[in-house]
């Protein structure tokens, strides 16, 4: 029982990291209709920025805040000066551009900071606490708490503020929103900025565990995309639940299903996706898109 609880909590923690990245992808997709494959790379770059500031003696929490701010600007700038040209055109082109960006950003990280593993300090101590006879890692709990808090903040922003209302309006119909005077361009930049912030938080939380390398988020990005498909692109809550499910199942399967083990656990979410897509193509929680005449 102790091992089981431990595995579930650790699974929720890694699931939270996937969830943050997946939410970033959903945020951009809702606003612009495209999948930003560079989201993982941008998160890594932010983690490097945080790490680099810690090497200069800046306290960790401050370094992460600087990286978060940097990410917001990075996201906004990428939208304005790179993606803007492609948003109205062929969506396939735009997606290829984001893949190009992923490669570019990964390359820039390697060029600036080399491909060697860097040790990012952790926000949380490596201790464990005893819960119901299980040793739960404080880092896992901390990761879950931080990401859930950020999701709640985001929810409050979207549902409770004028800026959130404007972001939702632009996501639904940018042209119609502009007729009410909404500054569509600036709102799209804000949306990309917020998505990058989510990625930055995910990066900063996962870096100590994975050790910092330019390709650190590649696997997390694949899992995040899996969560996006599983949860349904139109459902932020569904995406978060799917990410947690993936994190937990992956952990449990590795331990309890002998032939899977740690080598095959990466296949678990994809078998799940395969089955879900056969039964519910819109994802577990997504809405079927209906085109009305």
């Amino acid at each position: 029982m102790g091992t089981f609880i431990q595995l579930v909590v650790d699974g929720l923690a890694t699931g939270s990291v996937y969830a943050a990245l997946a939410l970033a992808i959903v945020l951009v997709n809702q606003a612009t209709g495209l999948i930003n494959f560079a989201q993982g790379g941008m998160a890594v770059l932010s983690a490097y920025v945080a790490w680099w500031f810690t090497t200069l003696g800046v306290p960790l929490i401050l370094a992460i805040l600087i990286a978060v701010l940097f990410s917001f600007v990075l996201g906004a700038v990428i939208e304005r000066y790179v993606m803007r040209r492609f948003e109205r055109g062929d969506p396939d082109t735009a997606v290829v551009v984001t893949i190009g960006l992923l490669t570019l950003i990964t390359g820039v990280c390697g060029w600036l900071w080399s491909y060697n593993n860097r040790q990012m300090p952790s926000l949380f101590p490596l201790d464990t606490v005893q819960v119901l006879g299980a040793a739960i890692s404080v880092r896992s709990l901390g990761t879950i708490v931080v990401i859930v808090a950020i999701m709640l903040l985001l929810q409050a922003l979207f549902l409770g503020t004028k800026l959130g209302l404007a972001l939702r309006a632009v996501a639904i119909n940018p042209q119609s929103a502009s007729f009410s005077g909404l500054p569509v361009g600036r709102l799209l930049m804000t949306g990309w900025g917020l998505a990058a912030v989510l990625g930055a938080v995910a990066g900063a939380l996962v870096a100590p565990q994975l050790t910092l390398t330019p390709g650190m988020m590649d696997t997390a990005l694949v899992y995040a995309l899996a969560a996006v498909i599983l949860g349904g692109l139109s459902s932020p809550l569904g995406v978060v639940l799917a990410a947690w499910l993936i994190g937990v199942l992956e952990n449990l399967a590795a331990v309890y299903v002998p032939f899977i083990g740690h080598d095959l656990k990466v296949a678990v979410p994809f078998v799940l996706i395969f089955i879900v897509l056969l039964v519910r193509p819109q994802g577990l929680f997504g809405r079927r898109s209906v085109v009305r005449v």
Binding site: K162, L165, R168, A177, S180
Partner: protein
């Protein structure tokens, strides 16, 4: 006093020229119709004014040259556009659609008063206040689109085919409410309408477009008296 003036406006989509010299003017507080066959350039004229399509010629509003401004800038100087197909924000509630309409306003109290006023004018919307716009009927969505545009407290309302796809009685209800809105607020309107009979219940004068050019302008009474107008737009 002229509020909006178009002089020899041209516009098109890529290589396709749609407007080839449109001139018209809307006086302060007046309501002007644009009549014409399908493809004559009625919708494109409105889109040229709000900057959705690039335009040539001269477009002045309240004495300022507004040609080339972006839609949100045009909205900010007091022109609200109810586009063809309504443009309601489907996933947002009626309430949130109205709040988006008031995006540029800072007077909270006035905004709430206007919402109350519009809900009284459109009782259907009051019943559906917390429903998503996508759950409304076509007529209700059209009412919502007009109400949302009015929330910006514009000086000029551009109305594109407000009767499109509606049952005749519903279309009449929508126009009755718009007429009342006009009478009570004094807002100026530029109205594109396929159904000329309906348009003449609202507008004081109209301009007729043919293949992207304005060919005739006259008061509603004059135009209704003309044989060719009757034949082309009024069903005999």
């Amino acid at each position: 006093m002229t509020l909006l003036e178009l002089e020899d406006v041209t516009a098109g989509y890529g290589p396709v020229q749609v407007l080839d010299g449109v001139s018209l003017s809307v006086p302060e507080g007046g309501a002007v119709g644009i009549l014409g066959a399908n493809g004559a350039g009625k919708t494109t004229t409105l889109r040229a004014i709000t900057g959705v399509v690039r335009a040539g010629g001269r477009i002045t509003f309240d004495g300022q040259d507004i040609r080339g401004r972006r839609p949100e800038q045009v909205a900010a100087i007091g022109i609200a556009h109810v586009p063809e197909g309504r443009g309601t924000l489907a996933d947002l509630t009626v309430r949130d659609n109205l709040r988006v309409g008031a995006y540029l306003r800072k007077d909270r109290k006035g905004v709430q008063e206007d919402i109350d006023y519009l809900l009284e004018l459109f009782p259907n919307l009051k019943e559906r206040y917390r429903s998503a716009a996508s759950a409304l009927s076509g007529g209700e969505q059209q009412m919502l689109a007009v109400a949302r545009a009015f929330m910006a407290r514009p000086r000029l309302l551009l109305l594109d085919e407000a009767s499109l796809g509606l049952a005749p009685s519903t279309a009449k209800n929508v126009y009755d409410a718009i007429r009342r809105l006009r009478a009570e607020s004094g807002i100026a309107m530029l109205v594109v309408e396929q159904n000329a009979n309906l348009a003449f219940t609202l507008v004081d004068s109209a301009t007729v477009l043919e293949t992207g050019r304005s060919v005739l302008t006259g008061s509603s009474a004059e135009l209704r008296g003309m044989d060719e107008i009757r034949r082309a737009y009024l069903g005999g």
